[in-house]
Amino acid sequence: MADFSPTEMMTVAAARVLRNEDVCFVGIGMPSAACNLARLSHAPDITLIYESGTIATKPDVLPLSIGDGELCETALATVSVPEMFRYWLQGGRINRGFLGAAQLDRFANINTTVIGPYGKPKVRLPGSGGAPEIATSCGEIFIVMAQSKRSFVDKLDFVTSLGHGKGGDDRQKQGVTTKGPTLVVTDLCIMQPDPVTKELTVTGLHPGVTPEQVAAATGWALKFAPELTETPPPSDAELAVLRALHQRTNEAHQPKAAE
C-alpha cells in the first residue's frame, strides 16, 4: 500500500459512495475530483452533470471551471443553463448531489455566502451558485470538505443552503421532500446524520485518525457513534487513477509554451 495524503483519503472515500447507475450533480473542486475518480474506477457509466449544462460528461482531465471545454466536448448533450436548472435539477431527474462548503453546521446546513454579518461581511465569499436548489432538488446530498474549526462551526454566519435545518423533521417542515445530506466525508472522518435528530455523527475514522483529532477540528461538541468503522485506505489502483488524473489536469492547466 502506498503512502497517501489526507486529501487523497477524502477524495477516495467520497468516490466510493457513488454507484454506476447514479445521476450525479457535480460541484467544482473536490466533488468533481471524487466523481471523476468514481467514473474512472468502479462506476464507469455514472452520469455526471455539471451546472453549465453538460450531461453525462466524461472529461479526461478535471475542469478548472464548471464549464471548461472538455466538459462539453465529452458530454452526451449540453443544454442551456435555464434548462439545466428547470428540467433536470428542479424536474427531479438527478438523484445525487455532491457539494462542498465554506462553513457547515451540525445539521449539515451550508454557508458559502459571507463570514461576518451579511451587510458588512468580514469575508465576502462567492455566494450560493447552484447549491440552494441542488441541496433541495437532488434525491440525496453528499458533502465533501476538509475539516477544521473554521469550517465546521457551531453557528453559520449565513444559511446559504439547507441541510437538515434545525434537525429532526425540520427539513420536511420547510416543504422539502428530498433526503438532504446523508453523508459528510472529510479528510479525517465520515459523518452521517442521526436517523432521528439528524445531527451529524461520526461513524468512521480514516486510517490513523483519532476521535480527539476529529473533535479538535470541529466547532461544536461532536457526537460519535458507539462503534466506529475504519475507512479502508486507498488501494494502489485508486491512488494510481487519482494521481494520474491530477497529473493530466496539472499539465493541461499550465500556460502553453507558445504563449
Partner: protein
C-alpha cells in the same frame, strides 16, 4: 436589424451610463473584448447582471464602472476570490457596491422569464435558506391548483445584453454552440444587444435545424472580434486559458497591481489585442 460596426461604435451606441447591462457567457464565450471597450469608454453607474461575475466583472468593478451587481456566484472559478469584487463589498473601494444576490436557479429562471416577456419567474427554490431575509427581490406566489408556495423573483430585462458567439452571417444572424448558458435568454430579454463574434461568414453552413441562432432582428450590433472571448474560450476555435485565470489571483489581489495591469493591458489596448488568441480548430 443588426448593424455591423466597430466595437467602439457598438458600445458607444448601446451602453449608456446608468444602464442595466448583462454581459453573459457561462464560463464559455465570455465577452472580454466588449467589457474592455466598456471600461475604456469609462461607463459609470452600471447595474451589472450576471450569474457568474468572473474576471470581467472584477475588472469593471475595480475600474469604478459599477453601481449595483445582480449575481449568483462571484468567484474566480477553481482558483479563488474575485478580489476587486470583495474589496468593493468589504471596503467600498473604489465605490460602494449594491448587491442583489440570488441562487443560480433563481437567476437562470429570471433570465428565462425575461426572454419570455414575463414580469417574474417562479421556482421551487430558496427553501430553508436566509436569502429571502436579505433580498427584497425574493418573494413568493402560491400555486392556485395545489396550494404549494413557490419562490418568485423579478425577471431580467436588461437595457443591453452583451455576448460573444462563434459566428454571424452577413445578414447579422448569429450562431453559437457548446455551453450556451443563458446567452439566448439574456439577448431576447434585453432592449438592445451587442454580439461580438469570432468570424463573419457568408453562410452559417450546415448547422442543425435546432441550432442556437439569434436572428439578425433580435440583435442591435454585430462586431467581428476574433479571440474576443479570451481568456474564456470559444468551442471549435480556442481553449480556455486556465493559466490566465490562475494568474488573476495575484493581479487582482492588490489595488495598485490591478490598476497598473489594467492600464497596460486594457486602457492602452484595443480590440485587436485579442486577435493573437484567435484560432480555429481544424
Amino acid at each position: 436589424m443588426a448593424v455591423f460596426s466597430s466595437l467602439a461604435e457598438a458600445v458607444a451606441a448601446n451602453i449608456r451610463d446608468g444602464d442595466t447591462v448583462a454581459f453573459e457567457g457561462f464560463t464559455h464565450l465570455i465577452p472580454f473584448a466588449a467589457v474592455h471597450e466598456t471600461i475604456r469608454q469609462k461607463r459609470r453607474d452600471l447595474h451589472l447582471v450576471r450569474m457568474t461575475p468572473d474576471l470581467i466583472y472584477d475588472q469593471l468593478i475595480g475600474m469604478g464602472c459599477v453601481r449595483k451587481l445582480t449575481f449568483s456566484w462571484g468567484g474566480n472559478p477553481g482558483v479563488g476570490s474575485l478580489h476587486r469584487f470583495r474589496d468593493a463589498v468589504e471596503n467600498d473601494w473604489p465605490r460602494p457596491l449594491e448587491v442583489d444576490e440570488h441562487s443560480h436557479a433563481a437567476l437562470a429562471n429570471a433570465y428565462e422569464a425575461g426572454a419570455a416577456g414575463l414580469p417574474c419567474a417562479i421556482l421551487r427554490g430558496y427553501r430553508g435558506t436566509q436569502h429571502g431575509s436579505v433580498n427584497p427581490n425574493i418573494k413568493s406566489v402560491t400555486c392556485p391548483f395545489t396550494g404549494e408556495v413557490l419562490a418568485a423573483v423579478p425577471s431580467i430585462r436588461a437595457d443591453c445584453a452583451v455576448i460573444h458567439a462563434q459566428k454571424a452571417d452577413r445578414k447579422g444572424n448569429v450562431f453559437l454552440e457548446g455551453i450556451v448558458g443563458v446567452q439566448k435568454e439574456a439577448v431576447l430579454g434585453a432592449k438592445r444587444a451587442i454580439v461580438t463574434v469570432e468570424e463573419v461568414v457568408d453562410d452559417l453552413g450546415d448547422v442543425s435545424p435546432n441550432a442556437c441562432i439569434l436572428p439578425s432582428w433580435t440583435v442591435s450590433a454585430v462586431v467581428e472580434v476574433p479571440g474576443g472571448a479570451h481568456p474564456s474560450y470559444a468551442h471549435g476555435y480556442y481553449k480556455r486559458d486556465n493559466a490566465y485565470y490562475k494568474a488573476w489571483e495575484d493581479i487582482g489581489r492588490e489595488r495598485e497591481v490591478f490598476l497598473k495591469w489594467m492600464e497596460e493591458h486594457v486602457m492602452r489596448q484595443g480590440p485587436d489585442a485579442f486577435k493573437r488568441h484567435a484560432m480555429k480548430a481544424a
